[in-house]
């Protein structure tokens, strides 16, 4: 959907220092070659199937469907992938690409730690060295993932600048890439940043909607009415939406983290509260003040705690092809508990944002309607934090 300079409508582009321009041009050229290369695609498919455990299940949530007395609900189980989230799809693609490009070192940012763990995993698998930048606040919220990355052989750098969260980790990864380009690939974790990252990440994640489409047609012999996914930068949502964009009957809904509410400063809901800006290499919507200073956003979910949104989502919002709704911490935690009790599936707190909106929506629909919710990751990493949110005194 992007044009040659990586624009999605007015969004996207390459707003980065001159020092990095040749690196992104080199990446784009390599990607344009390998995306049509049979051997590359075969190798990636093998990795998806044999290593990551794809295709992921499309599970009919019968108890949830019964309980809500509304639409039929299916869960796309990205939480069952190796490393426990959709992040591995993109990482295997980018790591393989980096290796073909002759790079020997991966760097990555991480919020909740899922993308960091996935990158460390792919680096271990492919014999690449790995450095992950993680906000200091997030290293506390997701201490177990920090240990996992180290266990996998990666170096984790705690980022103390700014708010010590995902945006600062992204900034620090860009700074690192600027200082070391020749042997290093920046394995960006979402559909954001400068062109060609939003396109590359979307393509590698589009396996989600390709599978959903085939699976739902086989099960129901029709397309779903709704596809719902959570959105921070927006990679699992973009992957879930992609193969449905031309199927106009399928409504696409992205669930943003409203934190303590979109009328409070403690929110990360970009579409609901942000405005057009230029940051982290792209033109898109960002939470910011009147002078363009990026807002210190907040969400209980470290993975959605980002002040921007990928440029293709901004475009889908502009043309009204997808809609974006805010979901608060409290609503997400309720959904986290609900899905655990009702289906025996503990979703990532990120994914719980999508579950929350689906619960509301399903009740307004009938059994004729089908909702697919992407469960982008599993919730083991969140259990201690949610317990604390509920006032339990628990350590990881």
């Amino acid at each position: 959907m992007s044009n040659q300079s990586g624009r999605f409508g007015i969004h996207g582009g390459q707003y980065i220092p001159e020092t990095l321009m040749n690196a992104v041009i080199e990446l784009e050229q390599a990607y344009n070659f390998y995306k049509n290369d049979k051997a590359f695609n075969h190798e990636l498919e093998q990795l998806f199937n044999e290593y990551a455990g794809r295709p992921s299940r499309l599970y009919y949530a019968s108890r949830m469907t019964e309980d809500l007395h509304g639409a039929k609900i299916y869960l796309k189980r990205e939480d069952l992938n190796h490393t426990g989230a959709h992040k591995i799809n993109n990482v295997l693609g980018q790591a393989l690409l980096a290796k073909k490009m002759g790079k020997t070192r991966l760097i990555a940012e991480t919020g909740a730690g899922q993308h960091g763990v996935a990158t460390a995993t792919a680096a271990a698998l492919m014999g690449l060295s790995c450095v992950v930048f993680m906000g200091e606040e997030d290293t506390r919220r997701q201490a177990l993932n920090v240990y996992k990355m180290r266990l996998l052989g990666a170096e984790v750098i705690s980022v103390k600048t700014g708010t010590g969260t995902l945006k600062d980790a992204v900034s620090e990864a860009f700074r690192e890439w600027t200082s070391r380009i020749a042997d290093t690939h920046y394995c960006l974790g979402s559909v954001m940043g400068p062109h060609p990252f939003p396109t590359i990440v979307r393509d590698f994640q589009s396996v989600i909607s390709r599978e959903i489409k085939a699976q739902i047609l086989q099960r129901e012999n029709k397309l779903p009415d709704y596809v719902i996914a959570c959105v921070g930068g927006g990679s699992n949502a973009m992957g879930s939406f992609w193969h449905f964009i031309n199927d106009k009957s399928v409504k696409l809904i992205g669930c943003e983290a409203a934190g303590r509410g979109i009328n409070t400063p403690e929110t990360a809901a970009t579409i609901a509260t942000g405005r057009l800006g230029i940051f982290h290499g792209m033109k898109s919507y960002f939470c910011q003040d009147n002078y363009g200073q990026i807002a210190p956003v907040y969400s209980i979910s470290a993975g959605l705690d980002y002040p921007g949104i990928g440029p293709e989502h901004a475009y889908l919002h502009d043309i009204k092809r997808a809609s974006y709704v805010p979901v608060t911490d409290e609503e997400a935690v309720n959904a986290f508990e609900y899905l655990s009790r009702t289906e025996g599936i503990i979703p990532a707190i990120e994914s719980a944002h999508a579950v929350s909106h689906a619960i509301k929506l399903a009740k307004t629909l009938s059994r004729e309607n089908i909702i697919v919710i992407t469960i982008s990751g599993r919730g083991d990493k969140d259990c201690a934090a949610i317990a604390r949110y509920r006032g339990e005194n628990i350590n990881e």
Binding site: I16, E18, M21, T178
Partner: protein, 260 residues
């Protein structure tokens, strides 16, 4: 002749960078006055940004101090209005694309022209995206300064041939900050630039000592120093203007006195 070209006309130029509002706006005013009085030929005025992705820790912290002091783009415009009553050397703004875009590109650049800002340096605006601001800059006669990096290679011809004001040569990979040694073959880069542009070339990133400044002045038309000045400001706070003045004098002397 533009103020910028004029600044490079006679001698090697010394360019000082400061972050406006660090530690407060009055101190910034006095630092700029002292820098100009002690021989700075051009001053880069940094408008702070919450997330300066091209800066090392020293300037990142300056941005934070400035924002915490309550500085805004409008207050910086007012400071420049005051400065322009007494200072005639070229002044350029250094800031990130979002600060300009969010203010309203037209309003921001028109104001630059009104308060006699001579140019804009935008580290996250490469050649490919310059049309974001270039038509407006041309309309209001504000130079959009181009940067050339050690990685630019084949891009040099394209960037240099369309450059305005002066050409900012980035000395080395990475973000801003003091470096003990600069190993890039800057001579070769500048020779390549000169094939495509007659504009003055100034080298920045990592220069902190008179020795380094003199070395750079031998191959370029000017030397840009930021982090080393910011460090002085961080150390002396409101007492900094005097110390920055002394430092600027030592650097200016070094670039003027470059015979081996």
């Amino acid at each position: 002749m533009s103020r910028i070209i004029n600044a490079f006309k006679n001698n090697k130029a010394f360019i000082a960078f400061i972050t406006c509002g660090d530690p407060d706006i009055n101190t910034s005013l006095n630092i700029i006055r002292e820098a100009a009085r002690n021989g700075a030929d051009l001053i880069e005025l940094g408008i702070p940004f919450s997330d300066p992705t091209a800066e090392g820790p020293v300037i990142q912290e300056a941005n934070l101090r400035a924002l915490n002091s309550g500085i805004t783009t409008d207050k910086i415009f007012d400071m420049v209005r005051t400065l322009r009553l007494e200072i005639n050397i070229p002044l350029v703004f250094m800031t990130y694309a979002n600060v300009i875009f969010s203010y309203g590109s037209e309003k921001f650049i028109r104001t630059c022209s009104e308060i006699q800002i001579d140019g804009l340096i935008i580290p996250d605006l490469p050649y490919e995206e310059k049309n974001e601001f270039l038509p407006t800059c041309e309309k209001y006669h504000v130079d959009l300064i181009s940067m050339i990096a050690p990685t630019s290679e084949k891009r040099i011809a394209m960037i240099a041939s369309e450059a305005e004001g002066f050409i900012y040569i980035v000395s080395s990979l990475g973000v801003t900050g003091v470096r003990s040694e600069i190993t890039t073959d800057l001579d070769a880069i500048i020779q390549s630039v000169r094939k495509h542009s007659s504009l003055p070339c100034a080298i920045g990133f990592g220069i902190s000592t008179p020795q380094q400044a003199a070395k750079m002045a031998r191959i370029a038309d000017g030397v840009i120093v930021g982090s080393a000045i910011i460090k002085i400001i961080a150390k002396y706070g409101r007492e900094a203007p005097e110390y920055v003045g002394e430092f600027v004098k030592s650097m200016k002397d070094a670039v003027l006195n470059i015979s081996d």
